[in-house]
């Protein structure tokens, strides 16, 4: 997957777990929780959906690395680039 494809994969997950959000104007460098109404349950949803859809296992100590879109794509790139 390219970085753009990874980004779209995250957008797809966000649109499923928080359908009312405006994701078209998402700022990739601003934390998700500062611009979207996400709570801790939603963050766990993102982790679970990444596991289900792409078999990516993210250890709990890394959850904080998925704070912005840019950081999320960078974190996922090593795992997904060969997909």
């Amino acid at each position: 997957m390219t970085n753009e494809e990874i980004r779209q994969a995250v957008i797809d997950i966000l649109s499923d777990i928080s359908p009312e959000e405006d994701l078209e104007n998402l700022d990739d460098n601003t934390p998700f929780r500062d611009q979207l109404s996400l709570d801790s349950m939603d963050v766990m949803d993102i982790i679970l959906e990444l596991r289900k859809r792409y078999r990516v296992n993210i250890p709990e100590e890394d959850y904080g690395k998925l704070d912005t879109m840019t950081n999320t794509v960078a974190y996922l790139e090593p795992s997904l680039k060969e997909m």
Partner: protein, 414 residues
Amino acid sequence: MELPEEQRIVITGIGLTAPNGNSLTDFRSALLTGKSGVQDYEIRYFGKTLAGICHFDALKYQSRKDLRRGTRAGSVAVYCTNEALMDAGIDIKCADRSQVGVFLGITEHGNVETENEIYQISQFGYDCKYWSHHHNPRTVANNPAGEVTLNLGITGPHYTIGAACAAGNAGLIQGVQMLRLRECDLALAGGVSESIHTFGIFAAFAAETALASHRHPAQASRPFDKQRNGIVVSEGGAVYVLERLSDATLRGAKIYGEIIGYAMNSDASDYILPNTERQIECMMKALDKAGLAPNEVDIVSTHATATVQGDIQEIKALRQVFAGCKTTYINNTKSYIGHAMGAAGVLELAGNLPSFEDGVCHPTINVDELDPECEINNLVVNKPQPLGDIRVILNNSFGMVGINSVLIVKKYVH
């Protein structure tokens, strides 16, 4: 002896969703025109069957995110409660929400969500790492009532009452008691069910040879008919706004009726089979609490689910309690909507309450040939029966593991 107004509890709002109507007006109209809500249905593992399916607008009071997070029972409860408050003319934002209680009867809760999660992890080799963190808040037994408090910002007490198919009445009884104890000033009480979304309930009723089948879905639920062959499982809900009479009159509320008597008891005899003697005792106890003789009841809303044995047992009980009561009429609502489980009692009562105004007893439908063992005087069959002045309704709801509930509502006259 009449209770003081602070102890008299009245119904001032009703919100509901039934397979044949999403408001009391539409539901009543369906019951007077013989409109069934039973449809063809298919569910994972079990396959094709029949069910009573509700078609309310779930997005009327919740976001898509709320619906994804919550449960169908929660969604039913949120819809019904908002509709009930609107019907009662109460703006909850202006009320003291710490004094509002939510009390909902359920037959069961959590089976749907557990089956869904097990199905999900089955797609991943049953690896529990794929189990959702939403499972806990979705399956706690208070979920449907709790979702109402989340939706409306209610901070008073909330919980569900697990009472099998006697649960709807039990929810109302809880509301009455909490108001009388002054534990709350407004009770949002009733019952809900999401049971059609669990394959297990269909499989279990089939295993008990108690699941209805019929080539015409609308004719499948046929209490008291000779050809009845079991239960049509349904979803649904009804929430009532309950208030002390003193509060209701103070704000000039519309009053549907007053809950003047109730009773609950246990069979202590069988896991599944009902017990006529205990049903009789429950009805007599409720009548005693209401200070009524049996012949003062105008309509008996039966629990009958269209199982061969259950219908006969209830009719036996009714023949004894209402022997010689020439002006007591008997009807049934499951014949239209199937068995809405935790919502059954409150939907069936709600369907009858407009009779205080229109003077008509709606019939039980789908009786082509009355089972002689279900014959009883004044059973209203297949066409509505105008009765004139209807003042008292007795509502039966019975459930598995031997639980009975009876509620008596009287027309309120200023």
